[in-house]
């Protein structure tokens, strides 16, 4: 029974048992050569209740020293736990008292670490017989909060993970067909890069979108090619762990969360009771200011939608421009595959709106056509004044668009 397929490498549940039962060493801060070694090291630490930091394999020297990390040291476990069956393995992971340290993805180029008790990270995981046969397209970085969710969801249900993170469109399509992938979880950027498709995928029954702001247009496109899939939008962060989920871009404040969520000057504040023990966060009256801007959809203030990140609004001649709004409009253009909208300092307006556009293969588009397309759809001050066409939009380690 396989747990992981990663290109030509695989890892079975039996091999995991062998590793767990025959190892004495692990590394609490591991710069990993491949995902198989990364997962084996992690599982061994979990089974033996050891704390571990999930590190990106490409962290820079500066990021390592500024976070005071001791990497790749071997730690001996004198009497490692012996595990007899896959069920026992799953249970010992599920009940582990390990603490897990994650690093913020650094869309702004600044990495910080946050430590969570395992229980905090797996509180949203569903374990049931129905999920026994799920096959996951692993489309997140395994070291980040969303990838961690997929890892636990898969291993605790004894599922197969097929690694498609940062792989090409054709690779992902082949993987879905070959392994009959049932669950996909990734960022809006991942789905945007996958679309449009020339076939539908009936094997996929659940699609999770998270990590960046999503939009209803994207969801409507995804539904078209994955007709059997239930769409789930999730919200969480490295700082807080997983928090909310919804069927579209609206999130609903559940009864049990009333009083634990508030909105101050459009910014979402989360009470500490919602994300468990943490010592690293700066709290204001027990609330954590997320930096995510939301708007209420109803008067009762029970339904909200994410609009932007607080520090990402661009000031253009005194107007505030939400880059996501402009991106949402542009991605609806039939020739555009992916876009990034950002501000560039400018002597006349303070900032000028710029955008980079990645076109679908073999298509051409002119600057004035883009301007014509946006004209009347968004206000004049939001329209990008510098439009560049690029081969590829750069992605961060977590598969999100880099913020310039």
């Amino acid at each position: 029974m396989f747990f992981l397929i990663d290109r030509n490498v695989s890892l079975s549940y039996e091999e995991i048992l062998l590793h767990v039962n025959h190892s004495n060493f692990f590394t609490d801060c591991y710069i990993y050569p491949d995902i198989r070694s990364f997962l084996l090291n992690w599982i061994f630490a979990l089974v033996n209740e050891k704390n571990i930091a999930l590190m990106d394999s490409d962290l820079s020297e500066k990021e390592i020293t500024s976070n005071d990390l001791k990497v790749n040291r071997l730690i001996k476990i004198d009497h490692p736990k012996k595990i007899n069956s896959v069920e026992e393995l799953v249970n010992s992971i599920r009940n582990s008292n390990s603490e897990i340290t994650l690093f913020t993805s650094g869309t702004t180029g600044f990495t910080r670490k946050f430590t969570h008790p395992l229980k905090n990270l797996i509180r949203k995981i569903n374990i049931s017989d129905e999920r026994k046969n799920d096959v996951w397209g692993f489309a997140f970085n395994p070291t980040h909060v969303a990838g961690v969710q997929v890892f636990f969801q898969a291993i605790l249900n004894q599922n197969l993970l097929v690694n498609v993170f940062m792989e090409s469109k054709d690779f992902v399509i082949n993987a879905i067909n070959e392994y009959k992938i049932t669950n996909l979880s990734s960022t809006p950027t991942f789905y945007r890069l996958l679309l449009p498709l020339d076939q539908t995928f009936n094997s996929v029954k659940k699609i999770t979108i998270g990590g960046e702001k999503s939009d209803n247009y994207l969801v409507s496109q995804v539904v078209k090619y994955f007709p059997n899939a239930r769409i789930n939008n999730v919200y969480g962060s490295t700082e807080t762990g997983p928090l909310f989920s919804s069927q579209n871009d609206e999130f609903i404040v559940q009864d049990k969360h009333i009083g634990l969520i508030k909105v101050v000057e459009d910014e979402l504040y989360i009470h500490k009771d919602l994300f468990g023990k943490t010592t690293q966060l700066h709290l204001i009256d027990d609330f954590y200011a997320t930096g995510d801007l939301v708007e209420w959809i109803d008067n009762e203030k029970r339904r909200f939608r994410f609009t932007s990140r607080k520090n990402e609004l661009i000031n253009v001649g005194g107007y505030k421009v939400n880059p996501y709004e402009v991106e949402d409009e542009l991605t609806q253009h039939p020739k555009i595959r992916n876009v990034r909208v950002f501000g560039k300092p400018n002597a006349v307006l303070g900032n000028v709106i710029c955008c980079e556009i990645e076109l679908l293969p073999d298509l051409e588009l002119k600057e004035e056509e883009v301007r014509f397309f946006l004209n009347g759809k968004i206000q004049n001050f939001k329209i990008p004044r510098k439009i560049t066409f690029v081969e590829k939009i750069d992605l961060t380690r977590t598969g999100k668009k880099k913020i310039v």
Binding site: G317, K344, V348, L349, V352, N375, F381, R385
Partner: protein, 72 residues
């Protein structure tokens, strides 16, 4: 240079669905004669900077084609 500047000015005009102009002369005022608003001026600076590597508004406002020439 004159030709390149004309191309840039006309690209901004096209972007706002105005007719291109056939020539520029030094006396033309950016706002009054070319009908540029502050957003168009920002676009102009970005495009000139891209083409000539000079930020024409860096040390004060520029009002006419002649003043652009002076900066370049």
């Amino acid at each position: 240079m004159q030709e390149k500047l004309l191309i840039i000015i006309n690209s901004i005009k096209r972007n706002k669905f105005e007719d291109p102009i056939s020539e520029i002369n030094p006396e033309q005022k950016l706002r009054e004669d070319l009908n540029f608003d502050s957003f168009d001026l920002a676009e102009l600076t970005v495009k000139i900077e891209e083409e000539f590597g000079v930020d024409i508004f860096e040390d004060g406002l520029v009002n006419s084609v002649n003043e652009i020439y002076a900066k370049l």
